[in-house]
Symmetry: C2
Subunit: 320 residues, 2 copies
DNA sequence: TTGAAAGCGCTAACAT
DNA sequence: ATGTTAGCGCTTTCAA
C-alpha cells in the first residue's frame, strides 16, 4: 500500500479512526496502552498524515507561504533565514514560491499560494501593485518585508535607510573626516537624508570628485550594493589607496560585500525576516482573539529596522 | 463571505455544484448560456478554487515540490530558472522548500513536502543520505539535480565535470599554451581528469608554481568557484598580468564569475534544471502508461549535461 | 476514555 | 447537456 491512511492504521491497531487522529496529534486523553498500539501500527505501516486532508478538515494548515520576488537576489536568502528561524520557533512550516523577477510571474505565484489556503502569506520585496497585495490581504493574513505599503490590513517591515545614512555619516565624522562625497544612482530620498546628516554633523558634502585636489573628499558613502562595487573599483582605478587616502562605506549588505571586505551599513536582512514573520504570525494568532473581521484584522503594523554598521577594511581614521 | 465555495457559486448561478466544477476546469460539455452564468457568478463572488480540496478529490495536485538544499547557493537560483521554465511549459506549478544548508533541516523539509502529496519532488543538490531519498522515492516520483544517486527509482541530472575539464584543457591548448597548472582543493577525481586531458592533448601539467621561472605554467585551470576566486586574487597578488602573462579558466559558473569577467567552463545551471524537471514530469506523466508499481516506476534515468566554455577576459592566445 | 457521524471543498463516475 | 451520488483523508463535535 503506497499511502496508508488513518483508517489503515486504525484497522491494524484495532481502534477507530478518531482515536488514531487524537494520538497523531499527541492528545493527552488517550490511554497509554491504546496509544502505543496505534503508534506501533502507524510506524509499521509507515504512515504519514496527509497535510492537504488535514488542512481541509481543520481549517488551518500550520503553514505559511513565502513569495520571493526574485530568488536571484542574494538578500532574499538572508531574509529567509530570519523567516525560517521565527517560523520554526513557533512551529509553523514554510512553503515558498518565486516571482522569477517578473511582476507577471509574481502575480501568478501569489495567486497560487493564495489558493492553497495557507494560514498566512509573507511577501518578500514584492514588485506587484499595492492593490493586488491588498486584495490578497482581504482573504488571508499578509505581511510584507522590504517594501512599505500604505494600507491597513498588511504588516510591513522595512529597513530604516535614512537612519543607515545618518549612522554612516556619523561614523565617518567620528573618524575625523570632514569632507564626504555621496555616490548614488537616483535615490533622491536618501541623497537628501545624506545632506541632512552631513549638515547635522557639521561636515560638508562634496560633489566635486577631483581626487587629490585641495577640497577633495576624504570619504565616500555609496548608496546601494552595485553602486558600492562600482565606487570601489572606481577608486582603485583612479589609483587611490582605500582606505589610505579615501575611506568608503557602502549602504546595503549584499553578501558579496563581506567577502570583498568593504565596510557597510544596513539593516541585518535576517532581522528583517524575523520581524516580518513575527508580525505575520502574531496576526494569524490574534485572529481568534481580536475583534476585526476576516483575515484583514488589525491595523497594519509598520516596523522599521535600525541599521548596523559593520566595519571592515575600507574605513580608517583620517590621518592628514 | 471570505472564501466563497463551489456551492456558493452554484447557488448564485442557479445550477448544481458539479456543473460549476466542470465550467471551472473548462470542460467543453457545458452549454454556452449556463457557462456564462456560472462564470459571471464566480466572478461576482470572487471565487477561487481551493487547491487543497481539489488535490484531495482529484488525487493529483498539478504541483511539484522543489527542495533547495541551500537558498544561499547562487547556483540554485539559476537551476530554479530552468526548473520553472520547464514546469511552466507543461502547466505544472512549483512549490519550494529550503533545507537551510543543514541536513537535519533538509530532512525535515523533505518530509513536509512529501506529506503534501504533490505530484512529484525535485531535490536540488541534496545533502541527505541516499537512503532517505530512496525512501521518499518509494512513495512519490523523485528526481535529483546536482547529485548522482546510484539507485533505480530516482532520475538524476548532473554536470559532466570531466568533460568540462577536458574542454578547458583543449581550449587552452588551442590558444597555444603548453604548460598548464591545475589548482584544486581536494577534488582528486577531477584532478585525474585534468591529468588525463593534459596527456591526451600532448601538454604538460605543471605543479611547480614559481612564476616567471623557465618552466612556469602559462595557464591555470582552477577547479571550483571559490578556488577560482582565490586563484585570481592570488595571481594578481603575485604581481602577474592576467591574461597577459597567465591565462585563467575557472571550472564552475557562479554568477559572480561573469561579473568578475573570468573565463569559465561549466554546464549551464538552468539547463540542468530544465532537464531535471523534464525527467521528473516525464516520470509523473508516464506513471499511467508504464508497467512499474507505485511512484518508483521506471529505471532511474541518469542524465549528464555537457559543459559550455564562456570566454571572458582572463584567457588569451599565448604570445611568447 | 473511546467511538460514531458529519462534514471541509472539491472531483469523478454514474445516472438522467 | 446537466444533475446525483459517492467519496478523497482528515478533524471535530457529540454521544456513549
Amino acid at each position: 500500500m503506497s499511502h496508508p491512511t488513518l483508517e489503515d492504521v486504525a484497522a491494524r491497531a484495532g481502534v477507530s479512526r478518531a482515536l488514531v487522529s487524537l494520538v497523531m496529534r499527541g492528545s493527552p486523553k488517550v490511554g497509554k496502552e491504546r496509544r502505543e498500539a496505534v503508534l506501533k501500527a502507524a510506524d509499521e505501516l509507515g504512515y504519514r498524515p496527509n497535510v492537504m486532508a488535514r488542512g481541509l478538515a481543520a481549517g488551518r494548515t500550520g503553514m505559511a507561504g513565502v513569495l520571493a520576488a526574485d530568488l536571484h537576489d542574494p538578500l532574499f536568502a538572508s531574509v529567509h533565514d530570519g523567516l525560517a528561524e521565527e517560523a520554526g520557533r513557533r512551529g509553523v512550516r514554510l512553503l515558498l514560491a518565486s516571482g522569477g523577477g517578473r511582476p507577471a510571474r509574481e502575480r501568478a505565484a501569489l495567486g497560487e499560494l493564495f489558493d492553497l489556503r495557507l494560514d498566512g502569506l509573507l511577501l518578500a520585496g514584492p514588485r506587484i501593485a499595492a492593490a493586488e497585495i491588498e486584495r490578497a490581504a482581504a482573504g488571508c493574513p499578509v505581511a510584507v518585508v522590504g517594501r512599505s505599503l500604505r494600507s491597513a490590513g498588511v504588516d510591513c517591515v522595512t529597513a530604516d535607510d535614512a537612519a543607515a545614512v545618518r549612522l554612516a555619516v556619523t561614523r565617518l565624522a567620528d573618524l575625523g573626516h570632514r569632507r564626504i562625497a555621496c555616490m548614488s544612482v537616483g535615490r533622491s530620498r536618501l541623497e537628501k537624508a545624506f545632506e541632512a546628516a552631513v549638515d547635522e554633523a557639521g561636515l560638508t558634502a562634496v560633489e566635486d570628485l577631483r581626487w587629490r585636489s585641495p577640497g577633495a573628499p576624504t570619504a565616500v558613502l555609496a548608496l546601494g550594493d552595485v553602486t558600492g562595487t562600482a565606487a570601489l573599483t572606481g577608486l582603485y582605478r583612479a589609483g587611490l589607496d582605500v582606505p589610505g587616502e579615501v575611506s568608503l562605506i557602502v549602504h546595503g549588505d549584499a553578501p558579496g560585500a563581506a567577502a570583498a571586505g568593504v565596510t557597510t551599513v544596513a539593516a541585518p536582512p535576517a532581522e528583517l525576516g524575523r520581524l516580518a514573520m513575527a508580525a505575520l504570525l502574531d496576526r494569524i494568532g490574534g485572529a481568534g482573539g481580536g475583534g476585526g473581521g476576516g483575515g484583514a484584522a488589525g491595523e497594519g503594523r509598520r516596523v522599521t529596522v535600525p541599521p548596523v554598521l559593520t566595519e571592515r577594511t575600507t574605513t580608517r581614521p583620517l590621518t592628514p
